[in-house]
């Protein structure tokens, strides 16, 4: 705990992830750096197709086989570079030190095993528990994620549970070994609104209890404001802006961030349970094959864009409290 105050738990430097597709090789993540300290919540926002899920999978070492690879940079967890770690070492870390919750609760649990078995399995794997102890702990975990009547539900199969309950089970699996980092990839996108708020509450409460650092990927600006200390705005595989949540929302330094925020008019006024998803900004994210271009990829949708924006990739401009913006006109935004 002591050293984690000085050095970050997770440090990603100049990460570049390339996908090999039919159109050739394209950088789905380009030059991404970030730091995550113990117990902190960092949020990723951005439109669909920006590479948020790819970033999460890269951190887990689960990039799609033969398609995705880390081309450059490092992912240091507690000082250990995961990009060069052996598969066996990654298996020790996954599910134990770093866990992940996925976007699709309906299909993320194995339909042919009971939920109890799917929770107990991870405890046996990483905690060396025996069958009975792991099963008992699975019941406690179901209780912790607020599934009523856990003693009976533990031997249910996934198809007997609702989407929200399945996501709770996923959270139970992810938190079973009290990981240092929890990566939640749009954990509520597939759920209805009332359930969304419950899942966020649950994640926040359990995260605080266990001191788990969270990377929260979401479309939901309201959730970002409520849950996260710092945020990263992604656009087309690049970091557009980063900084403390309140500061970025109050004074965005990137036109894209500004657009995202203006799409959620109530955000500045009050942060309530009502959370409409991001409305569209005019235009669309460029396709993957254009991600590598030396220009500001947002230029085609930006009313401020000038010659420079279209011909040169903008550098990251620093502001107070670690706020960064990758925009040629960051000072004027």
């Amino acid at each position: 705990m002591k050293n984690s105050h000085n050095s970050p738990l997770l440090k990603v430097e100049n990460l570049r992830i390339e996908l090999t597709t039919r159109d050739g090789v394209a950088p789905v993540i380009d030059d991404l750096s970030l730091e995550l300290r113990a117990g902190e919540t960092l949020s990723f926002v951005g439109e669909s197709g920006c590479g948020k899920s790819m970033t999460a999978l890269a951190l887990m070492g689960l990039l799609p086989e033969k398609v995705g690879r880390v081309a450059k940079g490092s992912i240091c967890f507690n000082g250990e570079d995961l990009t060069t770690a052996s598969p066996a070492r990654l298996n020790e870390i996954r599910g134990n030190d770093i866990s992940m919750i996925f976007q699709e609760p309906m299909t993320s649990l194995n339909p042919v095993y009971t939920i109890g078995e799917q929770i107990a399995e991870v405890l046996r794997r990483h905690r060396g528990m025996n069958k009975a102890a792991a099963w008992q702990r699975a019941i406690e975990l179901l209780d912790a994620v607020r599934i009523p009547n856990p003693k009976n539900r533990v031997s249910d199969y996934p198809h007997q549970l609702s989407g929200g309950q399945r996501q709770r089970v996923m959270i139970a699996i992810a938190l079973a070994c009290e990981p240092k980092i929890l990566i939640a990839d749009e954990p509520t996108t597939a759920l209805d609104v009332t359930v969304q708020a419950q899942i966020f509450d649950l994640m926040r409460d359990l995260g605080r209890e266990l001191g788990t650092a969270t990377i929260l990927i979401t479309h939901d600006m309201g959730a970002v404001a409520e849950m996260a200390e710092r945020m990263i705005v992604m656009y087309a595989g690049r970091m557009a802006e980063t900084g403390p949540v309140q500061q970025v929302i109050d004074h965005p330094r990137h036109p894209y961030t500004k657009g995202l925020i203006s799409c959620v008019p109530h955000l500045l006024a009050q942060l309530t349970a009502e959370r409409p998803p991001l409305a569209e900004i005019d235009g669309i994210v460029p396709s993957l094959k254009d991600f590598g271009r030396d220009e500001c990829l947002f230029a085609s949708r930006c009313e401020r864009a000038n010659e420079q924006c279209r011909n040169q990739r903008p550098p990251e401009v620093g502001f107070s409290a670690g706020q960064l913006s990758a925009c040629w006109q960051a000072e004027d935004v």
């Binding site: 599910g95 996925f102 299909t107 649990l109 042919v112 990483h126 198809h159 007997q160």
Partner: protein, 325 residues
């Protein structure tokens, strides 16, 4: 509880189906020209009409169709399949006598094909561009395209005639004396080629299907979850993926089981294997109606029992099957 209920209703349904099959079989045989009296007369070297009429009266063949049918169904439901004049013994004992040979052939081929098919399917799905994957594709092509009797004859020529590794026909070698291990070994030696021949058909089906199912499952979200838990590659593939991928293979195997006898006929014919297939073939040539009907009935029984077993196997593998009634 729902499981028992479902099984009960399925069994009831199965019995009704069996009776329907009986009626259909009997009606079709009745419509065909020639009857037992003809066969008997033929074996006696001809008979005058009076004796023919006498025989028909003895066997109830002069009765109206419906009465004959009712008598037949009633007898079958009491496990009496009639008497074969051609073989001069009750059909039931005839079938039971030939059954072990066919069971050995079919179960051996099925088991071999299932094991090999699943293993090949899994290996090739894990490495879709590897050698095994191409092997499976080639095997499937061969298995689909080559008629089983042709494969059988090819194996005979290669392994029996040229290489002399295996006997060419039958199930026992009369020169091999003694029982116990010597007998078992002798039977196994005779069974190798027939089993491999029959297996080639099933193997093509199973390996191909398992490969496809496994490829799909390996790309699924829950397999990604299993990886995210830090499980070893072996556990991800054999625990999480395979159990999902075998459902379609089990279903197909169940369907194949239904074709036990039809599948065995050709292979048994090629290798003169003394099983039900050969019996069916011979009794058709001899117009031995009771035996043909008996075998047809028995096939229907196998189909129905096979379906029931498939159903149970699927329920064991996949909790979603039959969950809601």
């Amino acid at each position: 509880m729902t499981f028992l209920r479902a099984t009960f209703f399925r069994s009831l349904y199965a019995i009704l189906l069996l009776i329907a099959v009986l009626v259909l079989n009997f009606s079709m045989m009745h419509m065909a020209p020639g009857d037992v009296a003809d066969t008997i007369a033929q074996s006696m070297g001809g008979a005058d009409p009076e004796i023919m009429a006498q025989i028909r009266a003895d066997y109830g063949l002069d009765q109206p169709f419906l009465i004959q049918l009712a008598t037949y169904v009633g007898k079958v439901l009491n496990f009496d399949l009639g008497f074969s004049f051609f073989y001069n013994q009750p059909v039931v004992s005839l079938i039971l006598e030939r059954l072990p040979a066919t069971l050995l052939l079919v179960l051996g081929a099925q088991l071999l094909a299932l094991t090999l098919g699943v293993v090949l399917g899994v290996i090739s799905a894990r490495n879709p561009n590897g050698m095994t994957s191409h092997l499976v594709t080639g095997l499937a092509l061969f298995g689909y395209a080559a008629p089983v009797f042709w494969t059988g004859i090819l194996c005979l020529i290669a392994f029996s005639l040229h290489l002399g590794w295996f006997p060419t026909s039958g199930m026992r070698d009369v020169t091999v004396a003694g029982g116990g291990w010597a007998k078992l070994l002798d039977i196994a030696h005779h069974a190798v080629l027939p089993i491999i021949t029959l297996c080639s058909v099933y193997l093509a089906l199973y390996s191909r299907l398992c490969r496809t199912a496994m490829l799909e499952v390996l790309g699924s979200d829950y397999v990604r979850t299993a990886k995210a838990k830090g499980l070893s590659a072996r556990q991800v593939v054999y625990k999480h993926a395979l159990k999902n991928a075998v459902s379609p293979v089990i279903t197909l195997a169940g369907l194949q089981f239904s074709a036990v006898i039809s599948g065995a006929v050709l292979v048994e014919a090629v290798y003169s294997w003394p099983g039900l297939g050969t019996l069916a073939f011979q009794s058709i040539i001899a117009r031995d109606t009771p035996t043909i009907l008996g075998i047809l009935f028995f096939s229907a029984l196998v189909v129905i029992v096979g379906n029931l077993l498939t159903d149970i196997a699927l329920r064991l593998v996949d909790p979603r099957v039959g969950g809601k009634q």
